[in-house]
Symmetry: D2
Subunit: 361 residues, 4 copies
């Protein structure tokens, strides 16, 4: 007994979500390849980029699979059958492209930050709420890492009692190429650019509806002295107090020598979870004249390689199955609010306070 | 500028290897899904199984993707366009199915053991050598784990000098269901069933051409007392001396309480690599009234999840690109020879010696 | 050839420092036994305590060794030959007893806090400076732990470049007996009582002369709700910015379930040292149905058992050899200043700033 | 109320055991200083050595404390009041000196090996049994390490069920000075010289009365090629099967590059204890361009620094209190028997079997 021919079968092939990728720089390429090869329920329909080298890359890696390649977002968005996009274009374009897609009923997974402007974010959220059938998710990839997911389940199951304190850090390898300093100028600052991930995780552990009460930050430009010019730091610490008696504190560094040292500790009334306390690259220990050592995780893209795939899978599933997205838009608002306030505190040296609704006083 | 239509593009789609999976029990299902969803350069053309539940599973999970489903190997092997198979049928069928495929010029990735009979293995190897254009690989999946691959590179780069001693163990969770004891009866015994993986890894580190000189094994039936009836053990230790001054020693247990505790240490004249010395499940540490702990890796299928995918990718690439397979067939012969001799030593209590060609004296 | 009789030899016996212990409660008993049995260059001459049970303990454990036992400090201080004291009496007595000893030329190792009043500390330091031949050391025992000593050497050798950020925490097991809450009332508060150790360590790594620039603290009474009444916390976080571009941040908890979780990370421009990142009790890993675990260090007295002995040895050596004490009195002043300000910030919620001399603005 | 004068009190001073140290080379000096300064219930009465530099060392470090110093064992043994000796002279003298002491009713703690001759050991044990009031202990120091003691308690409490398999290794840093090769010639061989510690630990975990059933060993001279001349190895593996269904397997290396890598795993039917699986020197982790590392324990004398003190304390207490010694002499016999047989197997390549009483067949 053989099944009917392949041609026939194809017609029963499970529905796949047609996705386009906006911007195929470093992250966009990764998203495109993930959709193409690792997300069974998605189909990479099209991509776009204004950059010649990116288009050449797409010609080589995507075109053979029938992916449609465009030079502009406006052209790509017209592709027949397009159902969803992943926005990984320049940050300045995120908000407007998101709005265009929502307007057209195209689901959006937008790289963070969707915007670093609170008013703009409010506008986007309003638009999204007005079109509940169109889904919008901000790409806080760390939530989709299997370790954070597993930890979240434990917290939700009450394994550590009530979470009361959270510590999170995301230290990165010193970049000596000069690239980072240029990037930093437009990044929104250390808290807005990167600590926002730790803040998002905080909400995932403390509860999406938790509200900040007060915060304070400080930082130094220890190696990238140029950062001082635009009031940013390469090593910074921030503390956030939440209404209801919870505290989160963050550290970020742009200057490690060993690799990407990113860990989170969730401390509850009945135990503690430490995620990636020692950022080992793999399961190999080397014993030699240097002692006993592990190689360190080189960078966030290595650390969260699997998380990017899971993120796409979960986004795809939520659309195809009509289920809830794994995170709320209001959380993105809270996270941005906190990140901006930490950045402000870093610059002004002032403590910042919030009312019970989490609005800055 | 948009690329030409999808239809056009499809015709340029990179060549994919048409693979059939023989046997879709637990491992076969995993292979089938891996080929279907995670190996971009492969196409799951067909599967076969004599077992109703497996066919039903295939109807549900594979048929929608156009995969052809057969009740017999003989039918499946006739599928037009079939280029390669993954054999994960009952062990007793591995050898004959492999021979049929080789005869037809169909490439084979066969789950271990391809056979536990040395003469039969010699016949298979002869056949394979007579058809060098048809590739045959035995599925020693642990070689494809990223940690072992990384460690191998380090050893080959001379990072630990000359490897002289290797320790490897593969302890498994106690099975209280009774399944294991039934399985054990036909498994070939503890060394042939599982330590053969550690032996294969030894060759990968010491050199594929290394020859055994002498060995001795002992074991106990500590929990699965029934094993004693057929002279098998649930905890066993074996030591192998190789010509040229190298030693490997192995421990296997079927009775752990914490999980799958599988590690390898490669000791060289200038350093040591320890792979998975502490078999942590993930990057989460739990601190509570029990102390500070990690959950343990539950089973080999969790530990080597990624390795199964890499194995398929590398097998596929070697065929499509016409490159060397990542392991030699002669290694499978050496490994089986050593495993059988360890098992014999376990039963007889005798030390077993080999001549300089690795033939038992 | 035998050496001359023992009697003769005794007269050449190396000079030992005659020490008295003031207060023989829990810590005083430990100091007394350490001096008696584990500090070769010291002689336990006398002890005193107003508490009957402590005197009974001394009768049993010290008297047999010829130690003189007194009911009052005033009596003990007259003991002929007394050269130095260890003050481990009630905190309220530390300052006055220290002053009496200094006045008499008796060297002092005083348990921390010598006082929690900055003016009183200034008076003591002035007195000490007026009698430079009489040594005064505050018992910041963590400095004498072999790990901290080893780390300090590495930092001083430049192994991690310039230290720029320090993280330190000292989480303690939840006390359910009610004792802690009573103690907390007179402890000076969480930062003054315990974080002062982390502050002292900060100075030891950043440089004794480093000056605070600004700080902020927050805390919650998560389990010991009674603490809120006197504005203390059982979980608190504080951040201190130092002049010259350095940051230290602290976390203390009174509510762990696993044990004494005390670690320090010193982050420099060329590397990081993590001291006791995972607070394992010993070198034993237990693998069982709970996973893979270590027992946790139960309490600070277990963690710093060896440090208390080293502290006494180094204090003794500095006096007998006329060398510098291993820490400066001015550091104790800086530490107290920071600890008091953190506590004030915890209570008031206000950020506190300091001028370039480290004086509160 | 002051206690009576010191003179009076001294007469009530707890009885201390008068100990002499025979041989004050490296280990003898350590024992002497330990007794002098760290074992409160012992008094270092005398030492002896034929070596000029050792006598000079004693003049400087021991004489000031009234310790009597002799050039010969025969003189020292006459010291009035001598109650016990620690024998750390040249190995060749251990047996005869032990017999002389037993004859005189002087308790003995003898460094291992007391002898490497089974007949001589039998003679010594017979003599010891004929004088039960005189205690004799062989210095298997690893038993007194706090980790092994703690693990033993857990095993005895049934925490891991019935112990069935034990793995132990004791790898040492490569000695490039040439000293080791000279020493090896008279050491009795790798199993007799060092693995005997692992064997002793095996008995401590499996039960002192466990009997060997069969064993086999193999080894290589990987770096110290000269060892081959006298049939010794610098890397060796041995497996011992015990009557009653238990297995121990050992690895020893003289050629590590990272330090003293000494660990033991006790595997039971309900769990596993791993002691010192990763031989970290201390609690400091260094993160820098080399990755994340710990310095390794340099040598056995660092690893067992505390164990040597505990050994002396327990030996002293057993004598003063008239209690059982913490290990049986018969264990030393079993350990030596196994070690000699492993060494024989290493040389001959033969498997060695024992009858149910543990006598070689």
């Amino acid at each position: 007994m053989a099944v009917p021919g392949a041609g026939d079968a194809v017609s029963n092939k499970p529905k796949r979500l047609n996705i386009g990728v906006v911007g195929i720089g470093r992250m966009g390429q990764r998203h495109a390849l993930n959709i193409l090869h690792l997300v069974p329920r998605a189909n990479l329909l099209c991509v776009c980029s204004p950059a010649k080298p990116d288009l050449e890359w797409a010609d080589q890696h995507l075109k053979p699979y029938g992916v449609q390649i465009y030079e502009t977002f406006e052209q790509m968005i017209e592709t027949p059958g397009l159902e969803a996009v992943v926005i990984s274009s320049a940050t300045a374009l995120h908000a407007s492209q998101t709005l265009v897609c929502l307007e057209r009923g195209i689901h959006v997974l937008c790289e963070k930050p969707i915007t670093t402007d609170l008013h703009e974010l409010a506008t986007i959220i309003k638009k999204a709420e007005s079109r509940p059938e169109t889904k919008l998710m901000v790409g806080f990839c760390r939530r989709f890492d299997e370790n954070y997911m597993h930890a979240r389940k434990k917290v939700q199951a009450g394994d550590i009692g009530t979470p009361i304190v959270l510590r999170s850090q995301g230290c990165e390898l010193l970049d000596k190429s000069g690239f980072f300093v240029q990037y930093a100028k437009v990044s929104g600052g250390i808290f807005v650019d990167t600590t926002i991930h730790d803040i998002d995780l905080t909400l995932s552990f403390f509860g999406e509806d938790v509200k900040p009460k007060a915060l304070w930050a400080t930082g130094i430009a220890a190696m990238h002295k140029e950062l001082a010019e635009f009031h940013d730091a390469d090593n910074a610490v921030g503390v956030v107090e939440f209404w209801g008696g919870k505290i989160a504190y963050y550290y970020h560094s742009r200057t490690t020598t060993h690799g990407y040292d990113n860990c989170t500790e969730v401390i509850g009334t009945a135990g503690k979870l430490s995620i990636n306390l020692v950022p080992k690259m793999n399961r190999i220990e080397i014993s030699d004249a240097h002692g006993i050592r592990n190689e360190a995780m080189p960078s966030w893209s290595d650390r969260y390689e699997g998380a990017f795939v899971t993120e796409l899978k979960d986004f795809t599933a939520a659309i195809l199955d009509g289920t809830e997205l794994p995170m709320k838009l209001s959380s993105a608002m809270t996270s941005l609010r906190i990140a901006l306030a930490l950045q402000e505190s870093l610059v002004t040296g002032k403590k910042i306070e919030f009312d019970e609704n989490g609005n800055k006083i």
